[in-house]
Each structure stands twice: as structure tokens, then as C-alpha cells.
Assembly symmetry: C2
Homo-oligomer: 151 residues x 2
């Protein structure tokens, strides 16, 4: 199944609780892996407008993540601070490593990157900077406060 | 873990039985996913010299595959015949779909692409054009003739 990204729907919505949605405004995702009928892992082509970010800073308990920078200059934030990634550079975020990460477009140009993540069940996500945790379910992510109460 | 491909070892060898190794001469793989400590799926940055190909034409019983074309023009061969992929185009090869695929560089320039595959155990690979099958094991691929006899 060949994928030309021009033909893939662009999603700008987020499944975060309402109070966090604005944080990823300016993010466009295209589910190119799903479009190619791949099931064991997800692949998204992501565009970040200047000032936008990939996600809230987070790490996964069971699912690995990997990104490849296609275009533009992006700032990776981890416990180590800020690092700049340029086209052709990549980064991996191994499952279970308690080091929250996200990508911020601090430049004045659109950034494009490819993100890959597997779909290991019973995954949990911690958001170290926010009162938020998530757990995977068959119907998508279930978000809650850190004390377990619902949003 | 940030990956700059300039720092990742280049592998030109193949695990195919001896009589097939020449078919992928001119192929260079860099295991960028392993370098990033990702375990649930593999990511390789692959360079194909003019005339070289990605693999023998094959399909997997359980593992999905996905590619993203970074540079150059590559020819995808499937049961549908030949299709040309250009930079920014992608293709997915869903597990269990009995349609062998491989990529051939029929151009005069080096082709670069990213390949992703998961690591679902007990995978089997069929090579429709060759007297070859493979099965996954903890120690890598085990190749045999189609009648089950060893190489």
C-alpha cells in the first residue's frame, strides 16, 4: 500500500482533557501507518506550526517511541534540558525510562517529523510537569488526575 | 537518546544463505532504532547504491513493515508490478498479506529510506520468487529451502 501524504486526512484535534488541548494547538497529524493498513505499530507524519508542541512532556511504561526529523529545526525537551534536532536526525524514547520528553517548535518555520510508536497493551503514561496520567484501553487513552480521579 | 546517523555503524553484510548474498550487494543498513535503545520495533536507515535492492522479494506472516523515502527515486516491486516512490512517499506492508515486495534502485543516484518493522515472535517469511523461506528465532532468521531442508 503506497502512501502519498497529500492524500491522507489531517487531524488537528487532541484527546487530552479540555484544559490541556490548547497546549497542542498548531499540531497536525496524519496517520500514515493506519492508512497503509499497518496494525502492530503506528506511524504519524506530524507538522508543528511555530510555537506548537508534539505533546505534553511524558514517558510511556511499555511502548517505545521513535522520531525522524524531515524538515525544520525542532527543540527536544527532556530531563537533560533542551537539545536541537535538525533534518535527518532522530531520537528514540525507550519504554520504561522515566524521562519525560516532548518536542517544541521554537523556530519561525513549520517543522515536519515522522513519529513511530508500538501498541503494546496495558501501557501507562506519566506527565511529570502536569497533574495528568493516562492508561491505554481498547477504546483509546483514559486520562486522570495523579490521585486517580477522573477529568 | 538522540541519533545522528553520522555516528551509527554501517552494515553491508546479509544473513541470507551464501547464494543470495550478492543480490543485496550495495545495500548499507544503519540500525538507528537499536542505537536509540528501542526494542519493540526496529528502525533502519538504508542506503541503496544504483542497481542494489532492499531484500529478496518477500512477505511476513506476523510482522508489519513500513518505509519512508528520504532521498532519491526507488522502484517498489509487488504483485501489482512496478511503482515509483519519490522522497516523502511511504509504503506499508501489512503482516499476512501474501504479496511479496522489495525495493530496487533502478536510478543512477543513491537512494535513502527509513524502514520500520515490529518484532512479533514466530514470524515466517515467504520469498515467492526464490526457493527460500525463513522463520524467526531468538538468534535471528533461520533460512531453509521451500521443502524445509537446510541451506
Amino acid at each position: 500500500m503506497i502512501i502519498n501524504p497529500e492524500n491522507i486526512p489531517q487531524r488537528t484535534t487532541s484527546t487530552y482533557p479540555e484544559e490541556f488541548k490548547q497546549r497542542v494547538a498548531g499540531r497536525i497529524k496524519q496517520a500514515v501507518g493506519n492508512a497503509a493498513l499497518i496494525k502492530n505499530f503506528g506511524v504519524n507524519l506530524v507538522k508543528l506550526a511555530p510555537g506548537s508542541c508534539s505533546a505534553l512532556r511524558h514517558w510511556h511504561s511499555k511502548q517505545d517511541e521513535f522520531i525522524y526529523v524531515v524538515e525544520g529545526e525542532i527543540t527536544l525537551i527532556t530531563n537533560a534540558g533542551e537539545q536541537i534536532l535538525t533534518p535527518g536526525m532522530m531520537a528514540g524514547f525507550p519504554a520504561g525510562k522515566a524521562d519525560g520528553h516532548h518536542l517544541i517548535n521554537k523556530s519561525s518555520q513549520v517543522v515536519i517529523y515522522l513519529e513511530v510508536g508500538d501498541r503494546t497493551p496495558n501501557d501507562e503514561v506519566d506527565y511529570p510537569d502536569d497533574d495528568l496520567i493516562a492508561s491505554s484501553s481498547e477504546n483509546g487513552w483514559i486520562f486522570s488526575h495523579k490521585d486517580g480521579s477522573e477529568y
